[in-house]
Symmetry: C2
Subunit: 205 residues, 2 copies
DNA sequence: GCGAAACGTTACCGGTCGGTAACTTAAACG
DNA sequence: CGTTTAAGTTACCGACCGGTAACGTTTCGC
């Protein structure tokens, strides 16, 4: 606490660890986790492998930490996205899918980094597994909660439907292009599901 | 054509190339493409690396051929699955999702091998890319065709909805367990979408 | 100024990667 | 029989993998 951290100075070079971390997140997301070695990460971050291992115990630990950071930032954006429509679950759901559609339509989007990591990391003992698993469970929980707040009787099914549409949008992103892809239909499909499962359009409480 | 092929004899050892091919497909699917080396494939197939390269030009070519075989077998199963309900697009759609749900609920299922390959193979020049791309386009085309045959006015959107639900089911398979997973709700969600987009329940022609 | 972190540099380790050369063995064929 | 073909065997290649040891250099707090 008494340490003076010369970080956060605008224009100043960030600490090596942070540079490595951000570089790794970018490379992992764009090229895939298994396709990027620690040498490439360190080099791209403007340092070398030795400095890498001074900041991270292993590549697997770095991967897990990248995934944790991804989850944390995602929920921050999630909360900020739902806040303007507090109390209106229907609007919140539509905001989620509008945001997902917008992000996916942008160039250079590679889908959900957590889902992609689940495909790449198949060894059962990888430290990233728990991160992915916990994230997906939480995502399902939140979507079901939103579905419940719409007043839908079958809110579990509706929530799972939202989850499947969201995951499907992420999954198709790598093969279908941004515009004209099936995920541009997602917002309309969400409204269709809402029309079936929460037909009254009644707001929470 | 004058060659006598001593293959297909029941109980006889298949040709080396076929053994390698089937072994590779299994290992690629279970452990991931990048996680399996040609040495492991050859060894698991009961032969060695040299025999591998006598049958396949490179690992990338083997991967592409595995993906092509997967696509071919998938459409064979697809056609066989739809045949009993010829002329009834609604029943055909439900058959597709019932089959997908059944397969996903089984143990050891790892989702769609083509979607997984799309995540693992990010180099733009990989020969497997075209296979994946063509398969996904064809899948979308067929689902939209089925949607159109239900008489739905917005059959493009309905078809894309079916695609997203299917891809979402595949994507969630690696993180959520077989039973009680969101994909068990998929058949019910399909009926909901059909109720919205093809409410008359009218059959083709 | 001084000690102590933080960081850069070089070399190295064993292992595995995809891929190849050269040689041997065995079986199928006429 | 001899020839051809498929297949097994061994050794090897350069490159890269994740990870480490040892040693300089810079920078910062005190």
């Amino acid at each position: 606490m008494s340490k003076k951290l010369p970080d956060e100075a605008p224009g100043a070079a960030p600490r090596v660890r942070d540079r490595i971390f951000q570089t790794a997140r970018e490379l992992f997301y764009r090229q895939g986790i298994r396709a990027v070695g620690v040498d490439a990460i360190a080099c791209e971050a403007g340092t070398n492998k030795m400095s890498f291992y001074r900041s991270f115990a292993s590549k697997d630990e770095l991967v897990a930490e990248c995934l944790r950071a991804q989850v944390g930032e995602f929920w921050l954006r999630w909360d900020a996205m739902l806040a303007p429509h507090a109390g209106d679950a229907r609007a919140q759901i539509e905001a989620v899918f509008a945001s997902a559609a917008a992000k996916s339509c942008s160039e250079n989007d590679c889908g959900c980094p957590l889902s992609n990591a689940a495909v790449e990391l198949r060894e059962a003992e990888h430290p990233g597994h728990e991160v992915i698993r916990e994230y997906k469970r939480e995502l399902r929980r939140r979507l079901r909660e939103l579905a419940r707040e719409t007043g839908a009787a079958d809110w579990q099914v509706l929530g799972d439907g939202l989850l499947l549409l969201l995951e499907g949008s992420n999954s198709t992103r790598l093969t279908f292009g941004g515009r004209g892809s099936p995920l541009s239909s997602a917002p309309e499909l969400v409204r269709a599901l809402l029309a079936v499962y929460a037909p009254a359009g009644r707001r929470k409480r």
